[in-house]
Subunit: 540 residues, 2 copies
């Protein structure tokens, strides 16, 4: 959920620009029921009048996904290049925001002036077309913000990494003061491989199959989609794309001219008439997402298409840590159908979109920055990248979420920690990560729920017995009796013994009944549920 | 959650033996709040009078963990070798079952007679001491049940794999009719490596450190514990074990004589007085378990010990798929403390306990079985192993959970599918996976809860307004008003319009209020909560 802010000016009155507004995805472990997660923008909102512009480096969800959800709070011009911008415009339209909010700009040498900043988009290779680094020139010096990148001289779709251009960037004026750099693959010791290395092995694999071939990859990896489609075509197969995100990426890539020569594809309806040995599907859901095409196919027929014994399913992707369970579930479901599942073991069918350790070192040398701020990675990646820089004599600092760093001196200096939490999109509303909503959901999931209702009459005496409903708890306790009844019996006894002072006091009744529910449950089923007590008084 | 059953005799009256009774572990994704998961033993319980014995191959939780929870339902003699048996006895004691229930037996040539079966325990190497394969001789031929194994000629602790002995086993009588074999690493293309290869790299790593060294591994990998402790000792460090499971394994291994020459260790209390450059901790929690020592240390001080900048934390383990999130959380927490985290990248500091593909092929050749039944793996592993066997001309069959296979012919023949679900240990009670308890918990976690209480008077008229409580839902809706109040207002209007026929009918009221709660929530917050309606009638 990338969101970077650069500022320049007198302390506390700096003019600001924002780079990227991304999301991250929820999981059952920590954010059940949540739809999307993005950075808490409270500080930016409070300082919105100081923001001059928002720049989006590329169209991956972790860089652009929050834009439609938070733009209304900032209301500043957004700049992006054609492909990224068009993807963003479609998102804004869906959120009811005028698409012209995003201004499409040309890359370097075009300069965008935003307050004291002069910003250029610089083509850089990544696993999505038209990813850009930013040159951010300020009166205090030049910052290079790499965005996500790899060193790929032949990325199939989109622009290659051009060392000469980056060399020129490093030589202009006083050179690069600060490099803010992708750190994702700092632990990968070998140089990264080009997207172009995949065409041959993928083609060979598909050529060797006799049943239907289905391949999945990241929807936004347009180069991979082209490689897969061409391999299918070359093997005499009609190619069908399944999944809305994937179709959108291809159509925007063609519309904006970044994708050319993509083989023609057929619809799912047409595909169901093609003999399986002549068919290739390219589908969404490489991360095991339950609603994507891969998962749907693993559960049976989807849009009239169905996998069978002798078919082949290729994961032309890697599993992002945390998504293993979902991916493995799909693999085994296909295995049960008799489908051969091929994954990326050995990297034959997938390459990463991020610069590996030697690539990062090459960029350090190419740009010769005075300082380096690692970005895009977990803490251990940032720390390792900072150590790598320090070993080369480049001043560095690990910036955790919310860290404000002064870059005007000779070394990065932490000046402030801004409260920077997370915001959840939950259904149609945004809630704070610390609001307790998700905490309550997790407690119900872990402990189950015991619901108690009690009615008291005009004399504060219980009208009938308390009523207990359980949800997410075993029906029978250790004693063999229904747990709800055992709890009700204990509560009835408690209320019979209770003084009028207690019976007149909602808090005391709540406390007493809650304690009984938890104690009895602990004895009967060995766990303490969440308890909600509703006391109704006829006198009210 | 391994549990295998072999039977011999007239159809429907076969005498039975059970091999292993293991558990698997719950997660938030599918089993929130559950403590342990094991096979549903309904069929075995119903046929308990036909069971002659239970055999436990080794002391890993996925082979022995269910024993204390299900033994009371079967009440048959249990056989195991000394180390495994002692671990099992301690578990039974804690469950209030007499430890003598487990009979400690010697390995081959000792034969245990159980009904028509003659069973021998055969030492085999694995990542826990004293793992055993079983030779199961029946009037219909010999079955070799490998248990979990690898081909290790020097496992440091426990017995090596002895090809000569296995060769002899294959030559006795009519040879091996059926091989039932571990399949875990069938996708690992290179021969497995010996536990002994780790001593050198681990020693080098520890020798090079200047701060405190902490290492984690699987508590039951006694050989690894010895290697780690020896490496620490050799580097001039006092060694302290943290974690109950680990201490138990070491003490039982020493008590039963399988572990000899373990360096002496110090207590946590003593450790806190040792200078950090002279200290090594060996701790539980290699899989990121929240309550284990690794996680505790990642959160701060634990038993008086605390990691600091310049210390080193070694994962001498691999992360089991599905546990990545927990492990990564710990790695980043240590990174934030300035601790260098070393993991198994490249396999320098960990080897697997399972036979790789070429090792499996070597065993196929060594034992020359007529049939092979793959076990211990996900479906894709079993399927791949079956294909591997079929390629060699060995008849094979994938047996999913509950499959009953006739092994008396020339090829395995599926004869029945027995209903074989999962049982959850939830607190102190056992519930069925399909009981709906966990489903209800997950629904509350995903959708939140809306609780409605309504009181109707003697004339079936609402007494006051319905009362709504929300749990795990945002307080405010899109309209800016409290969601609970908006729902209550809609409900009040509905009840005012309701006919007496509706008001007399609890089901109709329930249905109406439930629909309103879901509709209003959808409009206000974009999600449909779980709804519980409690209607109380004063006439009752």
């Amino acid at each position: 959920m990338n969101a970077y802010v650069y500022g320049y000016g007198p302390e506390g009155k700096e003019r600001l620009i924002v780079v990227d507004l991304g999301v991250t995805f929820p999981d059952m472990d920590g954010t059940p029921g949540v739809d999307l997660i993005f950075a808490d923008l409270e500080w930016l909102e409070a300082n919105a009048d100081r923001i001059d512009a928002i720049f989006i480096t590329h169209a991956h969800e972790d860089h652009i996904g929050a834009l439609p959800h938070v733009w209304n709070k900032l209301r500043k011009p957004v700049y992006a290049r054609a492909f990224t911008g068009r993807i963003g415009q479609l998102k804004l339209e869906e959120a009811g925001i005028p698409p012209e909010t995003i201004q499409i700009v040309e890359p370097r040498p075009k300069v965008i002036e935003a307050g004291p900043f002069k910003v250029q988009f610089v083509p850089i290779s990544h696993s999505i077309p038209e990813s850009s680094g930013l040159i951010i020139d300020t009166p205090a010096g030049r910052v290079v913000h790499t965005g996500d990148f790899k060193l790929d001289g032949n990325p199939i779709v989109g622009e290659p990494f051009e060392p000469e251009m980056w060399h020129a960037i490093a030589k202009e004026g006083d050179g690069v003061k600060v490099l803010v750099s992708d750190s994702t693959n700092v632990f990968s010791p070998l140089p990264g491989r080009s997207e172009a290395t995949l065409a041959e092995p993928i083609s060979e694999l598909i050529r060797a199959q006799t049943g239907m071939v289905v391949a999945t990859t990241f929807a936004s990896n347009v180069a991979r989609l082209k490689t897969l489609a061409e391999a299918g075509k070359a093997a005499g197969r009609s190619v069908c794309l399944l999944g809305r995100a994937m179709k959108r990426m291809v159509s925007v890539a063609e519309e904006t001219g970044v994708l050319k020569g993509m083989p023609g594809t057929i619809s799912a309806e047409e595909a169901s008439d093609v003999p399986r040995q002549n068919l290739m599907l390219i589908v969404t859901g490489s991360q095991g997402e339950r609603r994507a095409a891969s998962a749907q196919l693993s559960r049976g027929k989807y849009l009239g298409l169905e996998l069978k014994e002798g078919d082949t399913f290729l994961f032309s992707s890697k599993t992002i840590p945390g998504n293993e369970r979902g991916v493995i579930r799909i693999m085994n479901a296909f295995s049960e159908m008799g489908v051969d599942v091929v994954d990326d073991h050995g990297g034959l069918y997938h390459v990463s979109g991020h610069a590996n350790r030697p690539d990062l070192e090459a960029v350090h040398e190419l740009l010769a920055p005075k300082m380096l701020i690692p970005m895009h990675g977990e803490h251990r990646h940032l720390r390792e990248h900072a150590k790598l820089a320090a070993d080369k004599g480049i001043a560095s600092e690990v910036a955790t979420n919310g860290t404000m760093i002064d870059l005007t001196g000779k070394a990065p200096k932490v000046v402030e920690y801004i409260e920077a939490g997370r915001t959840y999109l939950d259904g149609s509303v945004q809630i704070g990560a610390m609001d307790g909503v998700v905490r309550d959901r997790m407690r119900m999931a872990l402990n189950g729920l015991c619901l108690v209702t009690l009615i008291l009459d005009e004399e504060d005496q219980p009208l009938g017995e308390p009523w207990v409903e359980l949800n997410g708890l075993p029906k029978l306790g250790r004693s063999g009796a229904p747990l709800a009844e055992t709890i009700e019996d204990e509560m009835t006894q408690y209320l019979e013994r209770a003084s009028i002072k207690v019976l007149k006091n909602d808090d005391k009744i709540d406390e007493g009944l809650r304690r009984i529910a938890r104690q009895v449950s602990m004895e009967e089923i060995g766990k303490k549920p969440e308890v909600i007590v509703v006391t109704s008084r006829l006198t009210d």
